[in-house]
Every structure is written in structure tokens, then in C-alpha cells.
């Protein structure tokens, strides 16, 4: 492991575009800077989601908890789920998509740099919008899955009150729509980048596994998000315009919401986990000094997981009583997904087999990702069986399952990526000792928090309960879990300390601190704005290893070049203007039930959006 401190390197050479100051960040279209903004923003949201989780754990530390009110608790778990999924894990993945997809395929930027900036701004505004609900005092409280008709705003019968008359659910619906715009724009962008921006010789089957898994994710995003867009539109109309799409009093069926939601929601699970699979597949070979075992099988198992992921949504709905034939179909389809997932796990083990394993923090996190994902995968197989799921669904067993998949899988994968790529992004190596403290706190804390949830679920503790009575035997494990959650939080505190410490330290990262295999390690740390002075020509899936072998040992540090003859896209603020337009359009829809002239605001917002888009379209890109 290269920890030698290099001499302090002068900052990158001057360039035509402004490099510093807030304005340079607001107008940037550089995929690396946008990636960093994605990372910083989503890490803050991630901490917020973690804080929400800690409050919930404090409430549940003993029976009859009185720390928060029941409605606050409902808001906490709703926003914890929504935040972690849409504002935490997805954009943290987007950070790596942004920074590393172009570099790993040997491109100078994404296909549409301004669209990329637009995605970021829309994401930021969407995240702020949905969290602003806390300030207004109407946070979403219908669960991250927002099941109709609990999310209905109208009185449905003489004996039933309106379940959600306030703005809580409106914030959630409109916030998710805003975030959907950001995700869709980003997905189209990365899709085109991967299809069309690969360097000469970078054939599809030579792409790094991270790019491959990201590619599958973009396809899933493009195909899954429109479905929830429609579901949210219908729910919004139900809430505001008196339609009955999900309202039994008008002939609608609340189960329809569940179908639409999970047709999106299950691919969403793979949207969350596949980037972590990709990162793990990058890291394991590098620190085992062996190429990825079964590259082609890894590619196709990823594609297969994504594809079948569209046909299993109803396994979230076994308790709705769909009938034996539907149950059978969705059970078998779900079990089938275990096969390509197993292939991935075995190939990861095969990658390390016979290797020479260096235990860096990145490697430890990637290994933990594999080890913990196995547990999440196996509990997943357990409730792919519908009758067994009749006991498990909506209990803490499920909470345990998806935290093993999403915390054990996605978060550990992303943490691995952070330690692995930090030197490339910031020119500084994160401290390994602190990194290991961070890792072990997180690893032990994670297992203490989430493993006992298996027991609690099987012993009858339902999900989404703000309290539980004495006498059901839930006390002990809940206390252990709360203790574990604070250990987790301590782990992330250490991570923050590590970041600050590294920030203050010297620029000590060489171009290739880990002896990496892929193109990002062939350029300086951090890369110059144009990434590659000359487009690389690729001959295998491990170009940097090829170069090392050809050089017969260490490669020289790459030179910084002026890059004056390289045209990079101009900075632009029109993406931000258009993003504000998108935000305003959805913001105006918040007032439908409370302000008769809301439509004037909407028309204004649409005009603003059109103006931004037109100026953007007619602005020279280069």
C-alpha cells in the first residue's frame, strides 16, 4: 500500500474557465466538480437520515417510549426511508457515476455536461423541498411507500375521517416528482455517456465492472422512474382534483397504487445495490492483485438481475391476497434472482482465491459488503416464499433484511468506494488507521443494530410502530439495537474526523496509490479538468495493469499539461435557472387545495422553465 507522502504538488495549471469561488461552482459543468457537489450534498442528507434513525432508536430503547409523539415517529421513519433512498444512497452513487464513469471509459466529460449540472441542481432543490416540510410542520408521514388510501386527503365515508388531509403527503408526492426529474435526466445522460463516449478500443466487454453495473442502473432508472411518476400523478390528482384512482368510494382500488409503486420500487432496490456491486468488483481485484473472476458472468448476471428485477414486484404484496397463481409466479421469479446474485458472490470469492490480499479500509469494506450481503440475500430467499412471508412481512425481520442489503450492501460498498477513490478525487489519501476504526465501529455497530431485528421480527414485533408494550419480550434486543446504532453513528463521526484531518493534511496521493487496474489511475490525482490530455486507446479490461506490465514496474507520475488546445464545455448558469423552474412548477402545485389562484403561480413557473430551457438550448456549448 502506497502511503509515502509525496512532495507538495502545485495546484493545477491555470485554465480558461474560472476555477475558484462560489460562482465557479454554480456555473460548473465539469463532471468531477458536479460529482463532488453530489457527494457533499448527499452526505449531509445521509447524516440527516441517520439522525432520524437515532431518534427512532432512542424512542424504541424501552417499552412505552415517550421521547417523540406517535405522529413525529411516523414522520421520522417516512423521512428516514425517503431520505436514505432518494437523498442518500442514490445520489452518493451518482457522485461516483459522475466522477468515475467518464474517467473509467476514457472520456473527457459526460455526454451532456449542462444536463448534468441541471440534474444536480434539481436534486438539491428537491431534497431541500421535501425536508422543508419539517420547518413548515407538515413532514410526510405515510411511509416511504405512501400506500393509498392512507395517503388520501378526502373523507370517504360517514364513519371514516380523511386519513391525510394536511400538506404532509403533498410535500412527499411533489418532492419525489422533483427528484424523479433529476434522476431521469442524469440516467439518460450516463446512459448516452456509456454508450457513446467510450475511448477508442473501450469495447462494451472491456468496460470496468463499475461502469457496467452503473449502465444497468441507468437502464433501470430510465424504465422504472416513469412508473412512479404516473403513480404520483394519479395520487396527486386523487388528493387535489377529486378523482378516485386509488379511492374505494369512487370505484378505485388502493391495490393499484401498490402495483404501480412496486413496479418502480423493486427495480429501485437494484438501482441502490448495483453500484455497490460495481465498486466491490473494482476493489476486490486491485487488492487481491488478480483480475476479476468470471468477468463475462459478472456482466450478464448484473444484466439478468436488472431484467428479472422488473418481474418480481408483487413479492412486496404477498399479504394482500393475490391468489395462489400470482403468488407462485412472483415467488419463483424472486427465487430465480438468487441465482445470478449467487454467481456474483461466488465470483467475488473466486477473485480473492489465490490472490495476495491487502487489507486496506477500502478492501475491508468491500469484503464486508460481500459478507453482509450474503445475509441479506439469504433472508431475502426466506421471504420469497409467500406463506412464510405471511409471518415476516411488515415485521422487523424485513427491516433486518433490507438493512443487510442496503446498509451491509450499498453503504459498505459506497464506503469502500470512498476510501478507494478519495485520493483520486482530492489528491489526498484518507488516514488508514482512522479508516480502520471507522470500519470496525461500523461493522460491529451494523451487526448489533440489525441482526437482532431478525429475532424481533420472528418474535412478533411489527415495523413502523412508535412503541411496544411491556411483556412481549422486545426489551432486550431493542436495547442492544439502540446501542449498536450509536456505535454506527460513532463510526461515521470517525469518518468525518478522518475527512477533516485529511483535508488539512498534505496532498500526498500519487496518481496510482493502490496499483489500480483501470484508467482513472493513469492520470494525476486529482485529474485535470479535461481528464486526458490525449484520449487513451484501450486494449483490455485492465489497461493500467497492461501499462505497468509493459513498463516492467512502477510507472512514472503522469505529467500535468496545459491542455490549452483542448476545448472543454463553457460554464453555464442556465441549468440552474431551468432547475429552479422545475422546482417552482412543483412548488406551485403544493397550493392547489389552499390557494385558489395557485394556477397563476404554476403558469408563471412553467414560463420560467421554458425560458431557462430556451436560453440553455440556444447558448453555445463550447
Amino acid at each position: 500500500m502506497a502511503t509515502s507522502v509525496l512532495e507538495h504538488r502545485p495546484p493545477a495549471l491555470p485554465h480558461a474557465h474560472p476555477k475558484t469561488g462560489i460562482w465557479s461552482w454554480i456555473t460548473t459543468v465539469d463532471h468531477k466538480r458536479i460529482g463532488i457537489m453530489y457527494g457533499a450534498t448527499s452526505f449531509l442528507f445521509f447524516l440527516l437520515g441517520g439522525l432520524e434513525a437515532l431518534i427512532m432508536r432512542m424512542q424504541l430503547i424501552g417499552p412505552n417510549g415517550k421521547l417523540v409523539d406517535p405522529d413525529t415517529f411516523n414522520a421520522l421513519f417516512t423521512m428516514h426511508g425517503t431520505t436514505m433512498i432518494f437523498l442518500g444512497v442514490m445520489p452518493l452513487s451518482a457522485m461516483f457515476f459522475n466522477y468515475f464513469i467518464p474517467i473509467q471509459i476514457g472520456a473527457r466529460d459526460v455526454a451532456f455536461p449542462r444536463l448534468n449540472a441541471f440534474s444536480y441542481w434539481v436534486f438539491l432543490l428537491g431534497g431541500l423541498f421535501i425536508n422543508a416540510s419539517f420547518i413548515v410542520g407538515t413532514p410526510p408521514d405515510g411511509g416511504w411507500f405512501g400506500y393509498a388510501n392512507l395517503t388520501s386527503s378526502r373523507v370517504m365515508s360517514a364513519t371514516a375521517a380523511a386519513p391525510s388531509p394536511g400538506l404532509n403527503i403533498d410535500f412527499w408526492v411533489l418532492g419525489l416528482q422533483i427528484l424523479g426529474v433529476a434522476s431521469l435526466a442524469a440516467a439518460v445522460n450516463f446512459f448516452v455517456t456509456i454508450v457513446n463516449m467510450r475511448a477508442p478500443g473501450m469495447r462494451m466487454l472491456r468496460m470496468p465492472m463499475f461502469v457496467w453495473m452503473s449502465f444497468v442502473v441507468q437502464v433501470l432508472l430510465v424504465l422504472a422512474f416513469p412508473v412512479i411518476t404516473v403513480a404520483l400523478i394519479l395520487l396527486m390528482f386523487d388528493r387535489n382534483f377529486g378523482s378516485s384512482f386509488f379511492m374505494p368510494d369512487g370505484g378505485g382500488d388502493p391495490v393499484m397504487w401498490q402495483h404501480l409503486f412496486w413496479i418502480f420500487g423493486h427495480p429501485e432496490v437494484y438501482i441502490l445495490i448495483l453500484p455497490a456491486f460495481g465498486i466491490t468488483s473494482e476493489i476486490l481485484p486491485v487488492f487481491s492483485r488478480k483480475p476479476l473472476f468470471g468477468y463475462t458472468a459478472m456482466v450478464f448476471s448484473g444484466i439478468f438481475i436488472g431484467f428479472v428485477g422488473f418481474g418480481v414486484w408483487s413479492h412486496h404484496m404477498f399479504a394482500t391476497g393475490m391468489g395462489p397463481f400470482a403468488d407462485t409466479f412472483f415467488a419463483i421469479a424472486t427465487m430465480v434472482i438468487a441465482i445470478p446474485t449467487g454467481v456474483k458472490i461466488f465470483n467475488w470469492v473466486g477473485t480473492m482465491w489465490g490472490g495476495s490480499i491487502r487489507y486496506t479500509t477500502a478492501m475491508l469494506s468491500a469484503i464486508a459488503m460481500v459478507a453482509l450481503f450474503i445475509i441479506g440475500g439469504l433472508s431475502g430467499v426466506m421471504h420469497s416464499s409467500p406463506p412464510a412471508d405471511l409471518q415476516q412481512t411488515d415485521t422487523y425481520f424485513i427491516v433486518a433484511h433490507f438493512h443487510y442489503v442496503l446498509f451491509g450492501g450499498a453503504i459498505f460498498g459506497l464506503t469502500a468506494g470512498a476510501y478507494y477513490w478519495w485520493p483520486k478525487m482530492f489528491g489526498r489519501l484518507l488516514n488508514e488507521s482512522l479508516g480502520k476504526v471507522h470500519f470496525w465501529l461500523m461493522f460491529i455497530g451494523m451487526n448489533l443494530t440489525f441482526f437482532p431485528m431478525h429475532f424481533l421480527g420472528l418474535h412478533g414485533m411489527p415495523r413502523r410502530v412508535y412503541t411496544y408494550p411491556e411483556g412481549l419480550g422486545f426489551e432486550f434486543w431493542n436495547r442492544v439495537e439502540t446501542f449498536g446504532s450509536f456505535m454506527l453513528a460513532a463510526g461515521f463521526l470517525v469518518f468525518i474526523v478522518n475527512i477533516i484531518k485529511t483535508w488539512r493534511g498534505p496532498r500526498n496521493a500519487p496518481a496510482d496509490p493502490w496499483h489500480g487496474a483501470t484508467l482513472e489511475w493513469s492520470i494525476p490525482s486529482p485529474p485535470q479538468e479535461f481528464n486526458f490530455p490525449k484520449l487513451p486507446v484501450v486494449h483490455s479490461s485492465v489497461p493500467q495493469w497492461d501499462a505497468r506490465r509493459a513498463a516492467g514496474g512502477e510507472l512514472p507520475e503522469p505529467e500535468l499539461v496545459s491542455g490549452e488546445d483542448i476545448h472543454m464545455p463553457n460554464p453555464s448558469y442556465w441549468p440552474l435557472v431551468a432547475a429552479i423552474g422545475v422546482f417552482l412548477v412543483f412548488f406551485s402545485l403544493l397550493f392547489i387545495r389552499t390557494w385558489p389562484s395557485w394556477w397563476m403561480f404554476t403558469i408563471f413557473s412553467v414560463l420560467w422553465l421554458f425560458y431557462g430551457v430556451y436560453r440553455w438550448a440556444f447558448e453555445p456549448a463550447h
Binding site: A111, F112, L184, A187, V188, N189, F191, V192, V195, N196, M197, R198, A199, P200, G201, M202, R203, M204, V222, L223, A224, F225, P226, V227, T229, V230, A231, I233, L234, F237, F241, G242, S243, S244, F245, G250, G251, G252, D253, M256, L260, I263, K534, L535, V537, V538, H539, I566, H567
Partner: protein
């Protein structure tokens, strides 16, 4: 991909600023990806329409006479659809797809007159279709079918309304191209700009080809 491979032998020869792996323009691939997304969008709306077909609790209904409430009184209602008008609209929309192909041909050949002429025809067709839909909505509304009257009303207005919105955006896009064409800003080397608008327009047409039989003809 074969294209990409052919470059690898002589990397020095590539134009680094216009290099793409497939040889296609980025925007074209992006639009195809977006159309893929839109397919799922309309598939969801059409599924919703089909799931709730025939489940309305009160009239008016699309193909059958029914009991409905009009001006506050319960009365018998006629079936609401008037197929001839919408068939005309459908035909006009289909022809507009042909027209935009001719306009694009003109653009690629540098025949400005041809481009402007056919593009104008396309925009007019689009406007006619939107006008037809506005008339239809207005007419249905006065026959007692409000947005929240029944499930048929909600699903019908939502599906066709979102399609109409797409048509309107297409009209705005094509009209923008028309203005550019008139100002001489669509030379043959920029014909791709028109091709993208045309691609979107074809997609909007194709969606209608699905909606028309599913909503208006299927009983």
C-alpha cells in the same frame, strides 16, 4: 461497435472533440433513451385506463347509455364518444408524421422551401389535433363528464390529457424549428436538429396509434 474498433488501429487519426463510440450523435441516443422512458410512462397510464375500464360507478360512459347526473338532476345519458371526429384527428396526426419526414428530407437536401412548407403543414396538423382535443374535452364536459365524475372520466382525461400535453410540446418544438428554418438557421449540416424533433413527433404519433383503438374502439 465495429465502427469503434476500426478506429483503434490508428488512434492518431481520430478527431478527439467529435469522437463517439457508435458514430451516432449523443443527442439522438439520448432521445431514444428518453422515448424508452416515455414508453413506460404511457404504458402505466394505458394500464390504469384498462384496469379501470368498465368499473365506473355512474355515467356517462364511453360506449353505452347510462344514468348520470347532469345539471344536478339524474337523467339518461347518451354514450359519450363521437368516433368520426376523433378518427379525423387521428388521420391528421398520422399525416403529420409523413409531412415531417418530407420536411426533414428537404432539410437534408438543403431544399429550404420544401422544409418550410412541410414543416408548416406538420405544425398545422399538430395544432388541429390539439384543437380537436380541446373541443372534445369541452364537449364531453358539457355532456356531464367532469374530471372526477367517474373512473372513466379520470382515466380518460388523464391519459389523453398527458398525450395532448406531449403533442403540444411537440408543436412548440416543431414551431421553434420552423422559426429557425425561416431564419435560415437549419442548413443541411444541422438537419439533425430537425431530425430529433421529428423523432419525438413520430413517437407521439405512435402512442396515439395505441391510445386510439384502446380507448375509442375497444368496447
Amino acid at each position: 461497435m465495429a465502427h469503434a474498433a476500426s478506429h483503434t488501429s490508428e488512434p492518431g487519426a481520430i478527431d478527439e472533440h467529435h469522437w463517439t463510440s457508435t458514430g451516432m450523435d449523443n443527442r439522438k441516443i439520448a432521445l431514444w433513451a428518453f422515448i424508452g422512458s416515455e414508453c413506460l410512462f404511457f404504458a402505466s397510464l394505458i394500464s390504469t385506463y384498462l384496469v379501470y375500464k368498465g368499473k365506473s360507478l355512474v355515467g356517462p360512459l364511453p360506449h353505452d347509455a347510462s344514468e348520470c347526473v347532469l345539471n344536478g338532476t339524474k337523467q339518461a345519458c347518451e354514450p359519450i364518444f363521437e368516433i368520426p371526429l376523433v378518427t379525423l384527428g387521428t388521420a391528421v396526426l398520422l399525416f403529420s408524421s409523413l409531412f415531417v419526414v418530407l420536411a426533414l428530407y428537404g432539410a437534408q437536401k438543403g431544399n429550404r422551401k420544401m422544409m418550410i412548407g412541410w414543416l408548416s403543414a406538420t405544425v398545422l396538423c399538430g395544432l388541429f389535433f390539439v384543437g380537436m382535443q380541446v373541443y372534445e374535452f369541452y364537449h364531453f364536459f358539457h355532456k356531464g363528464l367532469g374530471y372526477s365524475t367517474n373512473l372513466f372520466g379520470s382515466t380518460f382525461y388523464t391519459l389523453t390529457g398527458f398525450h395532448g400535453t406531449h403533442v403540444s410540446i411537440g408543436v412548440i418544438w416543431l414551431a421553434t424549428m420552423l422559426v429557425l428554418a425561416i431564419r435560415g438557421k437549419v442548413p443541411p449540416e444541422k438537419a439533425l436538429n430537425l431530425e430529433l424533433a421529428a423523432l419525438y413527433w413520430h413517437f407521439v404519433d405512435v402512442v396515439w396509434i395505441v391510445i386510439f383503438p384502446v380507448v375509442y374502439l375497444m368496447r
